[in-house]
């Protein structure tokens, strides 16, 4: 990946070229992933195992992280509102719309990328350096089919579920802060008047896309691991950085599309 310290002595033009090459490599893995999603051979239980690894083992970390993020956002928003319009009646409604439309997915996906992306890249990278990936290829098992596809499916499903749960947690912690710091009752805070079906569709679309992107970027980085344990370390770092970068770029793309097709009220 061009974003990491390994590339720090590279010229900006070469770095941009590296970014494009990496994006192409991820796109190629993505194309093969789609191919094997339809025609691949699933090992019994492989998706369930990955769903457990990605979902269950990330849940606590994500809930804690999103609780803090929700509390901080509400506190800072309340402080700023207090200076401008000392009326908190719509703070919950605005916060909820923002959370559903963007923050739950986009902010939540970043810590998710660190937890899930690092795990995927480290696991696959370790298999590469111990020649297990070559052994898979010798056994007529395409590594994309055998390793990436189950993680992709699990990451899309469990990533979405976790980001939605994270959204609820962030809303709950925001509600608590609103009551404790600004005397906004949960009844006032729980205001769905600004939320539309379009917001929900946009938010869930982001969650689904980020879940898939984390698995693809991290899977590709894992498969591209070169060298020994140092190579696995680099692959892990690159997977996290690349996943976060992909989330930010995808957020811009989906938000732009949403701006035209699902305009915020």
């Amino acid at each position: 990946m061009a974003f990491t310290a390994r590339a720090e002595n590279v010229s900006p033009l070469a770095a941009l070229k590296n970014v494009l090459q990496d994006a192409l490599a991820v796109a190629r893995v993505g194309r093969r992933t789609m191919h094997y999603l339809i025609r691949g051979k699933r090992e019994p239980g492989s998706v369930a195992r990955q769903m457990f690894a990605i979902g269950n083992q990330s849940l606590f970390f994500m809930c804690i992280t999103m609780a803090f993020i929700g509390a901080i956002i509400t506190f800072q928003t309340g402080l700023q509102s207090k200076k401008l319009v000392p009326d908190f009646s719509m703070i919950g409604a605005t916060y909820l719309k923002l959370l559903i439309r963007d923050l739950a997915a986009s902010v939540g996906a970043l810590p998710l990328a660190t937890r899930v992306g690092a795990g995927i890249a480290a696991e696959i990278g370790s298999m590469v350096v111990t020649e297990q990936v070559d052994a898979l290829r010798m056994c007529a098992a395409d590594p994309v089919d055998y390793l990436v596809v189950p993680r992709f499916i699990a990451s899309v499903i469990m990533g979405t579920v976790i980001l939605i749960i994270g959204g609820f947690v962030a809303y709950g912690s925001g509600m608590l802060v609103a009551q404790l710091m600004f005397d906004v009752s949960p009844h006032t805070f729980t205001n769905l008047s600004l939320v539309t079906m379009g917001d929900l569709v946009l938010g869930v679309s982001k969650a689904v896309t980020y879940g898939g992107a984390i698995a693809l970027v991290s899977g590709q980085r894992g498969l591209a691991t070169f060298g020994g344990s140092e190579g696995v370390g680099w692959a892990t770092t690159e997977a996290v950085v690349g996943s976060c970068f992909a989330i930010i770029v995808l957020n811009l793309v989906i938000s732009t599309i949403g701006y035209f097709f699902v305009p915020a009220l």
Binding site: E131, A135, M138, D142
Partner: protein
């Protein structure tokens, strides 16, 4: 039959294979020897289609690998079994490891698979170890599991990368005997990389020696022992004086 024609391969500035041409006749045990970092394991990966050479041609059963895409290469790899230097066993139990190629290549019932696995384990002298985890087993046992996995699908070509590295002399000889018995039983074409020259020459029909990415010797076992090439002579006879 395996044939390489003027194969070149480099990793960055590091030339690993420098114009290697060789031919391994069918039903032959071909020992590939040479000092460390000579390019032996890389050559195996080129033969298996796991690495693509920068130039030159590689043929497996008269089919050139160069123009093949990954899906077509997977078809060719079905003809090849491979034992990896560091075992490359999966995080599964012994039976699942050995059965893995069968499950991917054939549509067999669980009973048939279990039968074939038990037969392989019997053959490599590890009966009854189906449910053990390879990580808890010794190096020699892992090698034998690797041999069982490489041969369970009865491929016509088997590549053994350092089958005796790190093993005691008795276990090494047992592994060589196993390789030879397997080759005789299935009439397979076998390539063996080994740093244990004396041991591998006891089973090899032909020998090739790689040095700094070049094939500096290719001939029969007797020719190798009688070679006057200083590097070949030094390596085959384990001499301390010489160009290596």
């Amino acid at each position: 039959m395996i044939r390489l024609e003027d194969v070149h391969l480099a990793f960055g500035d590091n030339t690993v294979l420098d114009g290697v041409s060789l031919e391994v006749p069918p039903a032959c045990i071909y020992a590939l020897i040479g000092p460390g970092a000579a390019g032996k394991s890389v050559l195996f990966k080129v033969v298996a289609g796991l690495l693509r050479p920068a130039s030159g041609k590689v043929f497996v059963d008269d089919e050139e690998l160069g123009p093949l895409n990954e899906i077509e290469l997977a078809r060719v790899r079905k003809k090849i079994g491979m034992l990896f230097q560091n075992y490359a066993l999966f995080d599964m139990n012994v039976a699942e490891n050995i059965a893995f190629p069968l499950r991917r290549l054939f549509d067999l019932s669980e009973e048939e698979i279990a039968e074939r696995v038990a037969e392989r384990l019997e053959r490599v002298a590890l009966p009854g170890t189906e449910h053990r985890i390879p990580q808890s087993m010794s190096g020699g046992q892992k090698k034998r599991i690797g041999v069982a996995r490489a041969t369970i699908a009865r491929p016509p070509i088997v590549l053994y990368d350092e089958p005796t590295a790190g093993l005691d002399p008795v276990t090494s000889q047992k592994i060589y005997d196993l390789v030879q018995e397997e080759q005789r039983a299935q009439d397979t074409t076998v390539m063996v990389i080994s740093s244990d020259v004396a041991g591998v020459l006891t089973i090899a029909d032909r020998v090739g020696m790689l040095h700094e990415g070049r094939l500096i010797f290719d001939g029969t076992t007797d020719d190798a022992k009688a070679s006057t090439d200083p590097a070949v002579r030094q390596f085959v006879h384990g001499l301390t004086e010489g160009p290596l």
